[in-house]
């Protein structure tokens, strides 16, 4: 089986080179082109502006066709991997082409709106590439041979075991164990939030706090209950670490998928804004 080749290295970086060429050519054309003095300075309406704008618009339409190509299973026009590689690099080159097309002229209007949407789309796409590079390895390390389902199954087993052990202990221990079960669910679900970790995205680990509380409460026990509590605490500790792994699994999945909720709808917004931009330019020519 051939070794995995990242879309960034596809065919020895063929599309990276193509994008680099396109950017260099655009910059060279922009530097060389002198707008006729009636136009005072470069802007989207010079012949170079029209050219760059046409290239950028066609490029945007082609970039969005990735969604069509990847669903056309019988198509043989290139490979989806090739398309994705080209999508990434040519999409990034749009930053240069579109900025040169507008010649750094911005204002509060539909034209700059299209530009801003495009930058959002490209930016979210860059985050997507970054997340695809970073997170899969972390997912593999986190799961460490398990699957999400197997982890959840084991968590259920531990939960039942904890409940069973707690039956021997006084009522407040049972109440804590029941509450800890709910805390585990909440802690795992907190992984689905995309809030950055350093901005409090992690939240309080109430499950861990429950486990710590058990230790403290256990000092008031005596006899066989002490041993039962020790066992309970050790099972609870396993539950804590397993819940953390599930939380991370959810978090990585969210990061791998969440940017697309910005990238895809924004690209349709961009399509609408782009259409309005092009039509408005020639409607009020």
């Amino acid at each position: 089986m051939p070794q995995h080749q990242s879309i960034l290295e596809f065919k020895r970086g063929r599309y990276f080179k193509l994008a680099l060429l396109v950017c260099t050519a655009s910059v060279a054309a922009y530097a060389w082109h002198e707008p006729s003095t009636s136009q005072l300075k470069p802007y989207g309406g010079t012949w170079l502006g029209y050219t760059l704008g046409t290239i950028a618009a066609l490029l945007i339409v082609w970039l969005m066709l990735l969604g069509v190509r990847k669903r056309s299973y019988s198509s043989t026009i290139g490979s989806v991997q090739g398309w994705t590689s080209a999508h990434v690099f040519l999409g990034a080159s749009l930053i240069v082409i579109a900025t040169l097309h507008c010649a750094f002229e911005f204002g509060w209007n539909i034209h700059t709106l299209a530009y801003a949407l495009m930058m959002l789309v490209v930016g979210s796409g860059m985050f997507g590439v970054f997340s695809y590079m970073l997170y899969p390895a972390r997912i593999t390390n986190n799961l460490a041979g398990e699957t999400l389902d197997s982890l959840l199954f084991k968590m259920s087993e531990l939960d039942r075991k904890c409940r069973r052990i707690a039956l021997e202990l006084p009522d407040e221990f049972n109440a804590l164990v029941m509450k800890a079960s709910g805390d585990a669910v909440r802690h795992a679900d907190s992984g689905k939030s995309l809030r950055p970790e350093w901005l409090g995205g992690r939240g309080r680990n109430r499950l861990g706090e429950a486990r710590d509380a058990l230790l403290v409460m256990g000092t008031s026990l005596s006899g066989a209950q002490v041993k039962a509590n020790e066992q309970l605490v050790s099972e609870m500790t396993r539950l804590v670490s397993m819940t953390e792994r599930v939380r991370l699994e959810f978090r990585y999945r969210a990061l791998l998928k969440g940017w697309l909720f910005l990238h895809v709808p924004m690209s349709f917004a961009l399509l609408a804004a782009l259409t309005a931009h092009v039509i408005s330019v020639f409607y009020l020519w």
Binding site: S38, L152, L167, F268, V281, Y283
Partner: protein, 611 residues
């Protein structure tokens, strides 16, 4: 004895935390089985109780469990059916699993549809809706009938409401009474959203109709046409009358739109510097207009012809000669103004004689208080916004030194600076008054003039004699003025036309030497006058003291910047609109229409000079 509870050692273990560790006790005695609560509440057949003798059919609720007492098989004392009615919530793993299998809450597809359609609506459909509505209305059978009737009824196109509306799709506004509230709201919203299409601020003059895009963009998908500009700029002339343009290059030039040079939406500047667009035609101007009289020119720095000075002669005031500067100076580079004037004398650094020792208008006097030092500003004051110098006026600039006093020992009065008949009348009246004995203040009547004694009674003979004396004296003074003292011929060409009548040649002085040029003296304030106008050694008024192109080139270069020089393209000095028509007129009518051309050019100059 049976213990009922959640603890392991209970014989009947109910493993649920809602059950006490030892919840109840079942004891067997003579009546049968007795269940008594020992650790938690009991519900027996729906009612709380603390103990009960179990009989078949009883239902006991302990926590979430329901215990039904059933008929015991033979040999056994008791049969109980235990059912868990209310199980605990599932373990955490299962809950997470079931939440996962419900799938994602948000749909990318739905978000995408909302984004696409929402933006299309706001940014495209609503702004163009009024125009589409107007077109629909115009295309309606009723409107088409009106338009057809209009064209049938008028062979000459008289702008009717329908025809005008058809011509300008974007600005068509139906009559107010036909607009529904919904349509008015839509138009309002469309107008606001249409502002989002504005790519940049308008020039100052156009901001007045900034909210009406259709004022200039009259037809969708068609570039702004000249008719839109001419709505307001009706009087703007073509650079060259269309009839003068010849050949394919000329036709191409005739098709040039206003908007090819004047691009708006770029802030306050609308007039453009367009050197290579000028050079496109002017490098070989005869290709564009076969009868062109100007030389070929591309840039100011090199290849620009020497200046032509517009001169006229007082003898033929309606004829303007344009003489090209050259070295040696051409013979006809003279101004025959019929005025005598010596700049060298007047600009003497030691000053000129001031007959009364008065301060001259410029206020300069030398230390002794007798000689007045004149400079350029003493007589030449900018006019027309600094483009020209105001004409020198005798009364204002010359008379304080060049007095027209006719008998200084008698009176300080001066004759009027006018025709000899006017002067004669004035003198006769003055002396008649003296002869008749009415001497005004400050007048010392001459000794040789007979006067009536005070109180004398006049007969008609005396009256005619008095008038004859005055008349004679007046003629004598006239003779002095014109012939003896040569007061008028100091400056004028005087010729005698009779015994007591003279004619002074009318004077014509140029004030606009290069009427086609845009020039501002204010912009050149820091330079001394003499740098360009070298009159210090001029003794004759026929000298023309206009700078040659070399003088301008000391500071000005062409359109390519050079360090330390002023970049100047065609538009720095030359007007565009109406330049040729004005020149053609100038050849015939002289300074007046040259001035009007200059006014046109000057009005457009203000575009360049505003910040």
């Amino acid at each position: 004895m049976l213990r009922v509870g959640r603890a392991l050692e209970c014989e009947l273990q109910l493993p649920d935390p809602r059950v006490a560790r030892e919840h109840a006790l079942i004891t067997f005695n003579a009546q049968g089985a007795l269940m008594a609560a020992s650790g938690g509440p009991l519900k027996i057949n729906g009612q709380s109780a603390s103990q009960v003798v179990l009989s078949v059919g009883d239902r006991i609720d302990i926590g979430p469990y329901r215990i039904d007492v059933e008929a015991a098989p033979a040999g056994l004392p008791l049969a109980l059916a235990v059912t868990l009615d209310a199980p605990l919530q599932p373990p955490c793993g299962e809950r997470i699993r079931s939440a996962e299998s419900r799938g994602p809450r948000h749909s990318r597809r739905r978000l995408s549809y909302i984004a696409l359609l929402g933006l299309l609506l706001l940014c495209l459909l609503v702004p163009v809706a009024p125009d589409l509505l107007s077109q629909a209305r115009q295309a309606s059978p009723a409107a088409l009938a009106v338009a057809a009737a209009a064209t049938v009824n008028s062979s000459v196109s008289v702008p009717t409401a329908a025809a005008a509306a058809a011509a300008s799709a974007i600005t068509a506004y139906p009559h107010i009474d036909t607009v529904s509230l919904e349509e008015a709201t839509l138009r309002g919203a469309a107008g606001n959203l249409l502002q989002a299409w504005n790519p940049g601020p308008l020039s100052q003059g156009h901001q007045i109709f900034a909210s009406d895009c259709g004022a200039c963009h009259q037809t969708p998908f068609v570039q702004v046409r000249d008719e839109a500009c001419k709505t307001c700029h009706k009087d703007t002339l073509d650079h060259v009358p269309i009839s003068h343009l010849t050949g394919p290059a000329g036709h191409e030039f005739a098709d040039t739109r206003c908007a090819e040079c004047h691009r708006d939406h770029k802030g306050t500047h609308l007039v453009v510097r367009s050197q290579e667009q000028c050079a496109d035609c002017h490098r070989d101007v005869k290709q564009v207009a076969a009868q062109a009289t100007s030389d070929n020119v591309v840039d100011f720095h090199s290849g620009h012809p020497a200046f032509r000075i517009s001169l006229s002669d007082a003898a033929t005031p309606n004829v303007v000669r344009r003489v090209r500067q050259a070295t040696p100076m051409p013979a006809d580079m003279v101004e025959r103004s019929r005025l005598k004037f010596n700049h060298q004398v007047h600009l003497d650094p030691n000053g000129v004689r001031d007959p009364d020792g008065k301060r001259n208008p410029a206020g300069m006097q030398d230390a002794q208080g007798q000689r007045t030092v004149l400079d350029c500003q003493s007589c030449h004051v900018p006019a027309d916004g600094g483009r020209l110098m105001a004409p020198v006026k005798m009364e204002q600039h010359c008379q304080s030194c060049h007095s027209l006093a006719f008998e200084p020992s008698v009176t300080s009065r001066q004759v009027v600076h006018g025709e000899d008949a006017q002067i004669a009348t004035m003198l006769r009246e003055f002396y008649a008054r003296l002869v008749l004995g009415d001497v005004p203040e400050g007048v010392h009547p001459p000794a040789d003039l007979p006067r009536l004694r005070p109180g004398a009674v006049l007969t008609s003979e005396d009256r005619s004699r008095a008038l004859a004396i005055a008349d004679r004296k007046a003629k004598q003074v006239l003779h002095e003025l014109f012939d003896t003292r040569q007061v008028c011929s100091t400056c004028h060409e005087v010729s005698r036309t009779g015994e007591y009548s003279w004619s002074v040649a009318s004077v014509k002085m140029s004030s606009s030497w290069m009427p086609q040029a845009q020039f501002s003296h204010a912009a050149h304030d820091s330079e001394p006058c003499a740098k360009c106008h070298d009159v210090a050694r001029s003794k004759d008024s026929k000298d023309v003291a206009m700078p040659a192109i070399e003088t301008c080139r000391e500071c000005h270069v062409g359109a390519q910047p050079v360090a330390g020089k002023v970049t100047s393209d065609c538009a720095t000095c030359h007007g565009y609109h109406g330049a040729v028509k004005a020149a053609a007129k100038g050849l015939v009518a002289g300074a007046a229409s040259a001035q009007s051309a200059a006014r046109v050019a000057h009005a457009h100059q203000s575009f360049k000079e505003s910040p």
